[in-house]
Structure formats: C-alpha cells, structure tokens
C-alpha cells in the first residue's frame, strides 16, 4: 500500500513538472527559453508457454513485461531527468521485483568549473576496480547511486569528483530498499597535457587516483565486521603515436562478506593494458591480477546485487550464439589473467588480400587461479597467495581466429575458429553444470552476407560447437533478410544433436521480425530457450527455460 501511495505521489510530481514546463511554453512568446524535453522508451514483453520437454515452467500471468521511459529536461546549464520503470510482472530470469515506480531521478547543474548532481547518477573511477556504477537493461543490471555528486575543475586538465550516496538494490530506489551501506567516494583525474598545453609534451599523460569507502553498521555481537571499508586505486595512462599504456593498481582493506566467505584478508588488483596500432595492424596485450577484490555496498550481498566495483574481463566478449555457450566471468576472489589480440589487414590487391583486402584477428586469453595456501596461523585471513603464483591448471582458455574477406561488392564473409577449455571445478562455478572432467569445446562459425539489391541484404550464419561435456554438441543455422533501413526478418534453429540423452536432442527454433519507423523499432519474435544456471560471485541461481512470443518496442523522441 505504501508503494502505491509513493507511486501516486511520484506521478503527481511528474504532472506538476510537465504543467510547469507547459506553462513556460505558453509564455515562450515573451522569449523565455522553455528548454528541451527528450527521452526514450522500451518495452520488452514475453508470452510464456509451458514446455515440459525443455522444462519451461507455467507462468501464471502468461505474460511478463519489463518497460522503461526516460524523460530528460534540459535548459541551459540545468538538466533534470526521470525514468519510470515497470515490471508487470517481471520477465523470467531477471532479478527484479514485480512493480513499477521511479527508481531514477536527478537534477544536474553544469558549469565550466563545476558540476553538481542531486539524485540518481552513474559514475566510474578509472577502470572501475574501486567504483563503477552503471546499468545494462538487457541484463537487468542497475547499480546506480542515489545521493549527491560534485565535480570540480579547478585547473585546466584537472577534475576532482566527490560523491556520497546509497546504491540501488534490485528494482527500487526507495529509501528502504537502497543499500544498507553508505558510499563515500573521491576521485582525481589529471590530464597533464591539458594543464601544460604550452609545453607541447608529445606523450599524452593522464594520472589519477580514487578512494571509496563504505559505511555499514555492524550489529553482529559475535563477528566483528569493519564498519568503514575503504578501497583505493592509482592509475596512469601514457599515449604516444600508436602506443598506449594503461596501468591501474587497487587495494581494499579487510572486508569480510558473504562472497569472500567472511575472511579479513586485504584485497588487491593490478591491471596492465598495452596496445599498439598503425594502419593495418593492431596489437593489444593485457594482464590482470585480482585477489579478494569483490566490493559491494552491502557485505551480505551476492550475485549481481550492489556491486560497487567492476573488474574488467580479459577475455573476448563473443556475440555469436554458440560461442556464448562458453562464457567466462572475472573471478573476484582471485585470478591471473592474460590476453593478446592481434588484428592484421592483408592489403588489397595481394594474393590473399584479393580485391578488397582480408582482415585477420587472432585472440588468445588464458586465466589461472592464484596459488592459494590456507593461512593456518590466522584462519580469519583465509589464505596466502604469492604475487606471481598461479594455479597449476588454467581456469579458462580461449584461442580464436577470425578471418573476414570481402569477395565482391555484393558478397562478404567471416569465418571464425574458436577453442575453449575450462577447468572442471571452474566450469561448475560458472555454469552450475556437474561435469566430471575438464571441458573443451571447438566452435566454427561462418557468417555470410549477400547484397541482393541496393539496401536489401541476405545474411546467413552457420555455427557448430563440438564438445563432449555439458549438453554435448550443437549446430545452428540462421537466415536473415533485411531491407535497410526499415524491415528485417530472421529465423534460426539451434539443434542440440550431441546431447547424451537422446530425448533431449531438441531443436530450439526462434524467429524474429522487425520494423524501424523514424526513431521507433517494433520487433516481434518467437523463442525457445533452454534452462541454465548462472553463477556469479559465489552464488548460483537457476535460469528457467522459456518458450513463447517476444515483443519489443523501442523509441526515442
């Protein structure tokens, strides 16, 4: 009941705000700038059908829908925004609460030397190892901060940011549902070239430092939890001609939590990213060491809730469907990760390059655990780990090669070969699947695109994943026809032909068709998705199978 009252109050607030704006429009003839209103919206709805074969459960309401509307008002240096969100009821697989309301609202004043934000905001310090607040609508992820933020630019090239607030938890930003922990943060960013512009330094240098602290009351009479937990980071970014180097180191003091199994060991993180690029060649090398760096605005939180920091993944983020069967997620409790990527373009007019050139992208990532030794002298510290020590077996490895070639003005194709291998225990942690051996998979993907006529393209994907573990091998075919920029239609079938259980060698048909009209997109589809287990930060949850019709409407104004 309280929620309903709050919603009515919020809606009333919007109406008053719109009336105020409208009244300003009426008086615009007196040359008062009425400001601008802009926004965007999205509605994703799915009609669910029970499907006992794949275990898709009955959905009592039949239809689940997640929707939002962003409304932004800008006038000179002032900006205000709200977002209305509705989960009526929440779609399957999303960690959101059924309901609706205004979890996002802010007012911001931006001047040349400073910026003030009151309300909800997103922020990132450095690479995010001590603070990153962001949202991913498709994943149902939103860890916005509700509070106050100030940015000051006292000198050219120098920006100081200070913030205080609480984090959004699941659906609501209502005070009772915000994080139990209070966040205080400070970040300094210095672009040395901007400050000393006249010196004309050839190497671009940026340095920065961050400090974030969480206050959460300790009411446990037995376990002593630190009420103030601090994390800090320092970073440097050097850039000269095609070379780029970014280094960030982070540290977190004792932060016993559900995720780290209530140990008091300090956390640390080191991230090194180097790259070189020139015409036709790009090389990037990355390394990362993470040790007990899970940091949240509530020590009891798990999964994707109330994450204060973000530990950048050092594996290729695949988008082809069968390649996404083999994911990797940063292990915040400890990992050594390395990644190399080389992109090379074979010149046009050569034997391999052909008339239009050929692009090759090679990527290799390998992740090991830390060499952890239980700390028997101080069990509350959990373990010791040598800085350069790594686990005997890799957690995960991904080696892939992508070849892109344009054969003619009408036809182009991308061929990819991917190889994955997982440590058995890590695979269980990532997927919840009870494999009894290490997991290896070979994936091949052929993506072909043929321009039938001007603006009309026929695209086809053939994918194959060979593995003897988990659900066995898969094959997939997709065909898509698009008439740019307005229409597209796609159908695809995933076939789990290698499932050990013959009864589960099923086809997962899906199809989707869409229309783009001005700034709007309507999309209607049908999908059948198998059940899975999603594990993050020491917690695994079941993602139920689903079968049904999907509708998506997206627009902006």
């Amino acid at each position: 009941m309280v929620r309903t009252k709050c919603d009515i109050g919020s809606i009333r607030f919007i109406l008053y705000a719109l009336m105020l704006l409208f009244s300003q429009k009426l008086t615009a003839q007196t040359k008062v700038d009425p400001g601008d209103i802009s926004g965007n919206f999205q509605m994703d709805a799915q009609y669910y059908r029970e499907d006992t074969l794949i275990g898709a459960p009955d959905f009592p309401e039949n239809v689940g829908s997640n929707s939002f509307l962003n409304l932004l008002y800008t006038r000179n240096k002032f900006q205000a925004g709200i977002r209305y969100e509705a989960y009526l009821p929440v779609q399957q697989g999303f960690l959101r609460t059924t309901g609706s309301g205004l979890p996002y609202r802010y007012a911001k004043w931006t001047d040349t030397k400073f910026e003030l934000t009151a309300g909800t905001f997103y922020e990132q310090f450095g690479s995010g190892m001590v603070l990153r607040s962001y949202e991913e609508w498709g994943l149902g992820f939103d860890n916005s901060i509700d509070g106050f933020r100030g940015k000051v630019r006292p000198y050219e090239g120098v920006e100081l940011t200070g913030l205080v607030g609480r984090q959004r938890n699941a659906f609501s930003n209502r005070v009772e549902n915000l994080s139990a922990g209070l966040i205080r943060g400070f970040d300094a960013n210095w672009n040395i070239n901007e400050t000393f512009d006249s010196l004309n330094i050839k190497t671009r240098i940026r340095i920065g430092g961050s400090f974030v602290s969480r206050y959460q009351k300790d009411e446990d009479p037995i376990q002593n939890y630190p009420e103030n937990v601090a994390a800090m980071a320092a970073r440097v970014n050097l850039n000269r001609k095609g070379f780029n180097l970014f280094v960030e180191v982070a540290k977190k003091i004792n932060d016993p939590s559900t995720v780290n199994n209530i140990i008091y060991k300090d956390g640390s993180g080191v991230l090194v990213q180097g790259s070189y690029a020139r015409k036709g060649l790009g090389i990037s090398v990355q390394a990362k060491r993470i040790d007990n760096m899970d940091f949240r605005s509530d020590r009891t939180a798990t999964f994707n809730n109330l994450n204060l920091n973000f530990l950048p993944p050092q594996t290729k983020q695949h988008t082809y469907r069968l390649a996404t069967l083999f994911p990797y997620a940063t292990q915040p409790l400890g990992e050594w990760a390395g990644q190399v990527e080389v992109a090379y373009k074979i010149k046009k007019g050569t034997r391999l390059g052909g008339k239009y050139g050929t692009s090759l992208t090679f990527n290799w990532s390998r992740i090991h655990g830390l060499d952890k030794v239980p700390n028997l002298n101080m069990p509350s510290e959990g373990y010791d780990a040598d800085f350069f020590g790594i686990s005997e077996k890799p957690f995960f490895q991904d080696i892939n090669l992508e070849i892109y070639h344009k054969f003619s003005k009408h036809f182009k194709a991308t061929l990819s070969f991917l190889y994955f291998n997982y440590d058995e225990v890590l695979f269980k942690q990532l997927t919840g699947f009870q494999t009894t051996e290490d997991v290896t998979a070979h994936v091949q993907i052929l993506d072909m695109s043929y321009k039938v006529k001007k603006k009309q393209t026929l695209r086809m994907e053939l994918q194959h994943a060979y593995t003897q573990q988990e659900f066995g091998s898969w094959a997939m075919a997709l065909i898509e026809y698009s008439i740019a920029p307005r229409y597209f239609i796609a159908i695809f079938d995933e076939y789990n032909y290698g499932n050990e259980d013959e009864d589960l060698r099923l086809h997962y048909f899906s199809g989707t068709a869409g229309v783009n009209y001005k700034t709007y997109r309507f999309q209607l589809g049908y999908g059948r998705q198998r059940a899975g287990v999603l594990c993050v930060g020491g917690v695994c949850r079941i993602v139920p199978a689903s079968n049904g019709v999907i509708l998506s409407v997206v627009g902006s104004f």
């Binding site: 699941a170 009411e219 037995i222 002593n224 020590r299 269980k428 942690q429 917690v539 079941i542």
Partner: protein, 277 residues
C-alpha cells in the same frame, strides 16, 4: 584561497583516515549471546550439487557455537541443486515435499544458493531470503525481542511410532492465523557434496547436518492452533503420531516445532528436542 585549499586537503585527509576500520579480532571470543527466551529458526536452502553451500554450512556452525540452543537450524535440500545426479555420484535424494514447496514459495533457486531465512522475517531489503554474512545480525536482532509464546515438546518412539506432545503457551494475545508446525531433522548423514573451494570440486563423504526429513503436522504450513483469536495466558496441548521412517536414524534426529503467523509466514517462536531425550 590558500586557506581554502589547505582546509580542503585536511578535510580530505580526515575523510580518508576515518574511512578505514582495521579489524584485529574478527570474532569476539568473550562475547556470548545474551540470555533470551526467544529461539530462532534458521532455514538454510541447500543441495548436494551446490558448490558454494558448504561456506554457508560453516557459518551455521559458527553461529550455532555462539547462540547454542537459541538457534535452531533446518537444512532444506530442495530445487535444482538438490537433484540426484547418479552419473556424477550424487545419488541420494534428500528432497522432501515440504522442502520443495518452501523452495517454490520463496524462490530460493531464483535468488541463488546458498541462501537462508531467519524466522522467515522480511528484512530491510524487502526480502525474506538472506545471504549468510547477514544471519548473525538478524539473529541478534530477533534475540533482543520478547517472544509472544513458548513451546514445550516431548518426543518418544515406541514400536516404530513417533509420538510428539507439544504445549504452546501464550504470553501475549495472538490471532486465529497462528499455526503450529512440527518437523523432523537429521544430523550426520554422509554423502558426496559439491564444494568449489577444494581442489577436486567435491567432498566425497561430506557431513550433512540439520537435514529436513519431513513434516509431522499436516501439510507444510502446520495446523491452526485455534479458530478464533488467542488470549494471553491460553495454553494449547497438541499430540501427533507418525509411523517412523526406518531410513532415518532416530539417534541423530531432532524434532523441531515452531509457530508461524500463517498470513506473513513469519516464525514467532521455535523449539527443538532430541527423540527419547
């Protein structure tokens, strides 16, 4: 301006220094829970396929050592992580119809395991299901409260028939929605358990404790104590009989009784005894 900058620097330094608490003594060894008439029910959703769940079990033992008889634990093996998987050696089926219904009702699988309920109370974050680093705080919060009722229990097995006598006495008035629930739990069951913190990823002979075996009271939400409002001072005597399941070792079993408000499902008081004790 210099004074302003110096002041800002001092304020920043003060902020940084005051924002770190280094803990030298993680567990307060001298601290013991204050005596309380309140007994708390902690239901832990778990499963032998859940590789993170042993961490919650370890925390439960720490809490049990601190709170003793004031803490009553029920391990509910239910949902996707409690399925049998003979090919990988997870053979025994520890699920119960009561556990399955509780899992479905509260959505533990969706919330993610390990997860538990402390007196099935809805906490500050609006959730009943809670992660284990918060259990200690939640227990101490409830322990500071005065229970509205007490439960007395006896349990005897004679000729394979379990007889449980329960006496519920009210200190305060109650509603018609109060239900008495009585269940059996069993300790010291050994079988394979997934555990992501050991090199092999599992423990072959894991020591399962507090495992929910079944309900003695009818249904999963117990029996209504009285059709109308309950007066302060009222006492209810209830007797239940159950044919003992020979798969359960009565020497390792406990009888757990609790009274719930059947509207909110919150547990108001609990009790636990051994059989033939």
């Amino acid at each position: 301006m210099k004074v302003f900058k110096l002041g800002s620097l001092i304020a920043l330094l003060a902020f940084v220094l005051s924002s770190c608490d280094i803990i030298d003594e993680p567990v307060c060894l001298d601290c013991q829970a204050e005596a309380s008439e309140m007994k708390i029910l902690l239901e832990d959703f778990t499963g032998h396929l859940c590789g993170n769940c042993p961490r919650a079990h370890e925390q439960l033992e720490v809490l049990k050592a601190s709170y003793g008889e004031n803490l009553i634990i029920v391990g509910i093996h239910a949902g996707g992580f409690a399925k049998v998987f003979p090919a990988a050696g997870y053979i025994p089926d520890y699920t119960t119809s009561m556990g399955d219904e509780l899992e479905e009702y509260y959505g533990a699988d969706i919330e993610g395991l390990p997860v538990g309920m402390v007196n099935r109370r809805t906490w500050q974050d609006g959730k009943v299901l809670q992660k284990f680093a918060g259990w200690g705080t939640q227990i101490s919060t409830i322990l500071a409260e005065t229970p509205p009722l007490s439960i007395g229990l006896t349990a005897v097995i004679t000729d394979q028939i379990l007889r449980v006598d329960a006496q519920v006495g009210y200190f305060e008035a109650g509603t018609a929605d109060h239900h008495l629930v009585i269940v059996v739990t069993e300790d010291s069951i050994f079988s394979k358990q997934s555990d992501y913190d050991v090199p092999d990823g599992y423990i072959p002979n894991y020591h399962h404790q507090h495992m929910l075996r079944g309900s003695i009271t009818p249904g999963n939400w117990g029996e209504q104590l009285k059709p109308g409002a309950i007066q302060a001072g009222e006492i209810f005597n209830k007797e239940y009989q159950l044919t003992w399941n020979s798969d359960w070792d009565s020497n390792n079993c406990h009888i757990v009784a609790y009274v719930i408000d059947n509207i909110t499902k919150e547990v108001l008081q609990a009790e636990e005894i051994i059989i033939n004790g």
